[in-house]
Amino acid sequence: MAKTARVITITSGKGGVGKTTATANISAALAALGNKVVCIDADIGLRNLDVVLGLENRIVYDLVDVVEGRCKLRQAMIRDKRLEDLYLIPAAQTRDKNAVSPKDMIRICDELRKEYDFIIIDSPAGIERGFKNAIAPADEIVIVTNPEVSAVRDADRIIGIVEADQKGPAKLVINRINMEMVERGDMLAVADVLELLAVELIGIVPEDQAVLVSTNRGAPIALEPKSKTGQAFRDVARRLAGEEVAFSTANGGGNFFGRISKLIRPKAGS
């Protein structure tokens, strides 16, 4: 049966907020739900999605090899060790960022659409060429932010750009929420972020050291059945797949929603 993949780009504005982590975990969780998934690392020059997925040592060809015709698309697709319906197209490590154009990305995604359910693209930070490459083929955009004023401000800017590009309303994942800090009033709460960004929330992911451990092991935390953080990423995947999943209070959802609005309000003289 012919498929028509949804192309979803994960982006952020500010760097280091967890795009790559989210891409790996959402892709793995979608594949674990029985979807055929390809993820593409569009961060040319700074590839690391392969490391997070633990596939680094299998790379022979990369995205730039595909674009420049040195290999077939299939040859650059690495199958995951755990999930047989999860593939990765890695970024090139040391090449010129301009080696890939938005048109190339659209062509590659169109070639994959018929055989897969989801194409998940990991965007680089910023709004430069790599970001444009990443959003060009996207049907949907997921913005990752941290509950922190500067990250939220950059997310807002990216949402504005995405809206102007007529990509439809962006969806939001808030990553690295720290319960204790929210309770102490030292961190923006979910409600504060949502009030400003006014987009659909599809995930709240707690701050968790186990994320680093799983990254180092190259095993996405979404595949650890007992992990709450893994559950948070699995919930994001299910929401993307169209399921209605409540934000569980077990995950801290209830408390996170409290708001400390004075943090987000501009202060005098700022």
Binding site: R153, D156, R157, G160, E163, D165, Q166, P266, A268
Partner: protein, 234 residues
Amino acid sequence: MPEVAFKGIREGLLVSLGDGDWPSLEQTLYEEVGKQGTFLKGAKLILDVDAHSINAASMGRLRDQLADQGLALWAVLSRSPLTEQSAQLMGIATRIHEPDPDPEQSDDEVEYVEEPSEHLALTDVGMMIKRTLRSGANISHNGHVTIIGDVNPGAQIIAGGNVVVWGRLRGLVHAGAEGDDNAVVCAIDLSPTQLRIAGHIAVPPTEREQNGPEVAFVRDGQVVAEAWTNQNST
């Protein structure tokens, strides 16, 4: 074949386009710019597109293509409100001279026109935008500006006249930017990062409660904010 004319002016390099449909004009522009080679490199471009409507996606492409050739698209001049809006969204200027203040203009003459097909309607005196201005958005207009939506931190409005925000105002706003002390700023939630009226800068209070709709204006050389219901005192 449509033509492209280059002219050096004080603000930069003015590029005017002849007649023709937009795609072929755009193509000709790239070709002409390409022909000039390194001669134009680093130039600040002011592109006059007359009445052509250019959406935000095409505007972004235009800017990128020109940037690839070493040209900065600094301003886009157009009679099309859509084009002006796309340019402003990208932070591209839409006028190159400070417009002359109109001494005849009084609030009674304000007139807003709604064009059903566009997000934005523009007359001589007013600009209306029906969406939230997010961080990075930059609106400048010599008349009054009305926003139906929020103005988020990092967004900026500079208006020759009044600014009315039917939503939360949390960005930077400058009303009466050409020196009109009588300009006002109104918002349902008035919590700007910075508020200026003509040459006066408001210092927002440290702790603010949600006060409901407010209007800010200049009284005795200072910017003050009052509840909207208290209008008779002004």
